[in-house]
Assembly symmetry: C2
Homo-oligomer: 152 residues x 2
């Protein structure tokens, strides 16, 4: 299994979802069981001096796809599988006054379950929590998504 680098994941993400490229969001860390993305303050700032709620949602939401791409071989064994978001929730704790990063982790056993379920049933549901952090590490928002890795 050849893993994609954060730069490759970012390029692929920008090609797949142009509006995410417009937000300037980049994948900065990605390895089996872990994904992290960064979002600049501009052009996501609102005129109240905070990052816009919809952009914050986006930088966390997309980790559900990126962590699977960083953990499973979607170009090999699981070729043709695509991660989808089924439902999601976000809780905003503090306004974001600058660039943020979002991060999420997934246990090795959960990755293996998704792989096996996917191969056996053509789809596998999984949940993922993420947190959005300020540059100083303060947690600004928390999210929880229900995803499905599905063969198309």
């Amino acid at each position: 299994m050849v893993l994609m680098t954060p730069e490759e994941l970012t390029a692929s993400l920008h090609q797949a979802i142009p509006i995410v490229a417009a937000m300037g969001i980049r994948v900065v860390e990605a390895r089996p069981g872990y994904a992290e993305a960064e979002m600049p303050f501009e052009p996501n700032r609102n005129h109240f001096g905070a990052a816009y709620a919809g952009s914050l949602y986006t930088v966390a939401e997309l980790l559900g796809g990126q962590i699977v791409r960083a953990s499973l071989d979607l170009d090999g064994e699981l070729a043709g599988f695509v991660p989808l978001l089924k439902s999601s929730s976000i809780r905003y704790l503090l306004p974001a006054r600058g660039p943020v990063r979002a991060r999420a982790a997934m246990a090795a056993e959960e990755i293996e379950r998704i792989r096996v379920d996917g191969l056996e049933h053509g789809k596998a549901n999984y949940d993922l929590d993420a947190e959005i952090l300020a540059e100083d590490g303060t947690v600004l928002a928390v999210t929880s998504g229900a995803y499905q890795l599905r063969r198309f």
Copy 2:
């Protein structure tokens, strides 16, 4: 109380949140107790031929602010008050294969409660459900947000 037209609300929204302007989202109907916004397929399309989850979230989320702007006098009696999103959830039911609209309604009694709570306490919490529809009226996603109208 002078109500803003959908065109004025759109212009104000685009000025306040540039990334929403980049998505091409417009307020198309706004009156006390009702708000509706439209979102074009481009540039919100992903390369799987569906509207991106984060853009769908956005077109519904922003109704929480627009419905209050269309229902209460934020330039007069409630000048200085700003609607904020505290938490939100979305459930995706069907992929969006073209332009969508999102709509939300609020009862007159609830508007009055928000007005009175705001004036009395300097803030008022309110919940708002919205739905996202395809051009043929099919419900594609449903959202539920917890907002606060707050004096700054």
